[in-house]
């Protein structure tokens, strides 16, 4: 079971949920480039200019650890990343567990309501700049007087988790300008979609849209405010995942019989 964190934090956020599955599964958590303890020297702006670069990272992790029948548990934008990975290499995955997914955050009216306008997304990027993330990125080299040694700026880094400001900025840009709607219908891997009842980032109709577009998918709802059910409602999240995985196991046994 591979846990893929979303935009904004790192793998430590899985600590409320992942341990519950350690008895039955080999649990793998990781940090995307720029987050947590990832090796920042591996950063390459071209590779991460689209979500595909991140999807390749998931596939490389599966290959490096020789994982098969992978259940990928993906939060937020990672759901889109996991879908891209599953479409690239369907044989690697047995199930997708998608927490608060959204294939596109921007509205594309009238047929699609992602929840945000282009101005909102520009505002978010600017908000990141004005918060410590941006200050660190723009001022650290000046304060340190040495733009050639970006590692010096790590002391000034953001207050959230341990996100590299420059990489986080690009991740935000790529995430909120992505449009992965067309990728949903191509998914053949069975999947569970978990939706929060009051999620400002991935609204209800987006969850319904994802469920509608993905052939072998089940949609479950948690009565929760927010975008991070694995953080705010870990017990409910674990229960929904366990139910789904139990159902899938029974189906496989029934198929065999």
């Amino acid at each position: 079971m591979v846990f893929a964190h979303g935009f904004g934090c790192d793998q430590t956020l899985w600590r409320f949920v992942a341990p519950a599955f350690e008895g039955d599964y080999r649990v793998v958590t990781f940090d995307y480039i720029g987050a947590g303890a990832s090796d920042r020297s591996a950063y390459n702006p071209e590779r991460y200019a689209s979500l595909n670069g991140y999807a390749d990272d998931i596939l490389e992790i599966c290959r490096a650890l020789e994982l098969s029948n992978v259940i990928v548990v993906a939060h937020s934008v990672s759901a889109s990343i996991a879908i891209l990975a599953a479409n690239k290499s369907p044989e690697t995955f047995s199930d997708l567990v998608l927490l608060t997914p959204s294939p596109r955050y921007l509205d594309d009216l009238p047929e699609y309501r992602g929840g945000f306008s282009a101005a909102d997304i520009d505002g978010l990027l600017q908000m990141m700049d004005v918060n410590a993330v941006g200050w660190a990125a723009f001022l650290a080299p000046i304060v340190m007087g040495n733009p050639d040694r970006p590692e010096l700026s790590s002391d000034l880094e953001a207050t959230f988790c341990s996100i590299d400001p420059v990489m986080a900025r690009q991740f935000a840009d790529v995430t909120f300008h992505a449009d992965n709607r067309a990728d949903l219908a191509r998914v053949t891997t069975p999947s569970l979609i978990v939706q929060c009842s009051h999620d400002a980032v991935a609204p209800l109709e987006v969850g319904a849209y994802v469920h509608d577009q993905m052939a072998d998918s089940r949609l479950k709802m948690i009565d929760a405010i927010g975008h991070c059910p694995h953080v705010s409602h870990p017990a409910e999240t674990i229960a929904l995942m366990a139910d789904y995985l139990g159902e899938r196991k029974r189906e496989r046994v029934a198929d065999l019989v």
């Binding site: 937020s76 306008s117 978010l124 400002a200 927010g226």
Partner: protein, 374 residues
Amino acid sequence: MLDLIPAGIVLLSEDMRIISANPAMVALTGRTPAELIGQPVDVFLAAPSRILFQTHVYPTLRASGRVDEMFLHLAGGPDGAVPVLLNALRDDSGPDVLYHVVVVRFQARSRWETDLLNATKALERERAASQQLADQLATRHDQETLDRSYRDAFIGVLSHELRTPITTIYGMSHLLEQRHTAMAPEVVSQHLADIVDEADRLHRLTEDLLIVTLVEGRRLEIGREPIQIARLIERSVNSERNRVVDHKFTINMPAQLPLVTGEDLYVEQVLRNYLNNAAKYSPAGSEIHLRAESQEGGVEVRVVDSGAGLGDQQPEQLFELLYRSPNVVRQTSGAGIGLFVCRELISAMGGRVWAASRPEGGAEFGFWLPELVE
């Protein structure tokens, strides 16, 4: 006391709903207390701040127990979005988890900070642009230094090439003037033949130099007149036979060749350069073949020798003007402008040139000129 403090103070339940808010907080949101209580706190944030709150602030608050100095925008107070700084603390000491939040208006400073940040970004863009300009200038300077050194080498080689025939002509003519009466007639003839040879060499070199000058000044213009190329081939080979006695020249072409377009003078100059080159780079006594045939809507002419071939040299490079190509400066003797002149003349007449080593040994230099279209 909380009612008087000039900062918004909010108490949130575990699921981020507002339990209580002091008057300063109510004023910041521009709502009534009744509109605040019981609502999820992110409802009162502007949309971009709502995303940041849900993706960064809440997870950090839940995982590390606090966030400090978060910059956010409250949604629609009486004056539109209100920039605020927010500190929050998770409190799990009681029976229920609570979040204590303090919010301070950050209007003026945020404006300065935004200005400062934008100025910093603009500065960074300018710095990058200056750097790019500096890189471009450095590249151009390097290129010019290189060009100058090739040009110097070119002038050096050229001076040598001009001086050699002039020295011979000068020396021989002086000698003849002073002592021809005392010389055996066959010695006089030999000296006169040498003078004619060198004068011929000088003449060709200056003809080539004239073309280089025209090309460099972008003034090379050639008329499109009908040319009987077979006649030119015969004339050039005959003239070369008389000049170069230690090689055997043969011609192989059909009785009828189509008319091509260009100017006689220049086609002859190309033929002369090709034949002269072939003689220069193949052993004495060997054969030089000239073949012409109708090909692809034009006439193809090939001069084939039995010399050493092209070796490691790139065919295209052979047609470069000497000072532009450092390898050629080192490898080739001679002024190194003959093939360049051929290429420029032929291409000005709408044709193309090529060179190749032949599998059976020796080199082939060729050109193709388009047929005259009536």
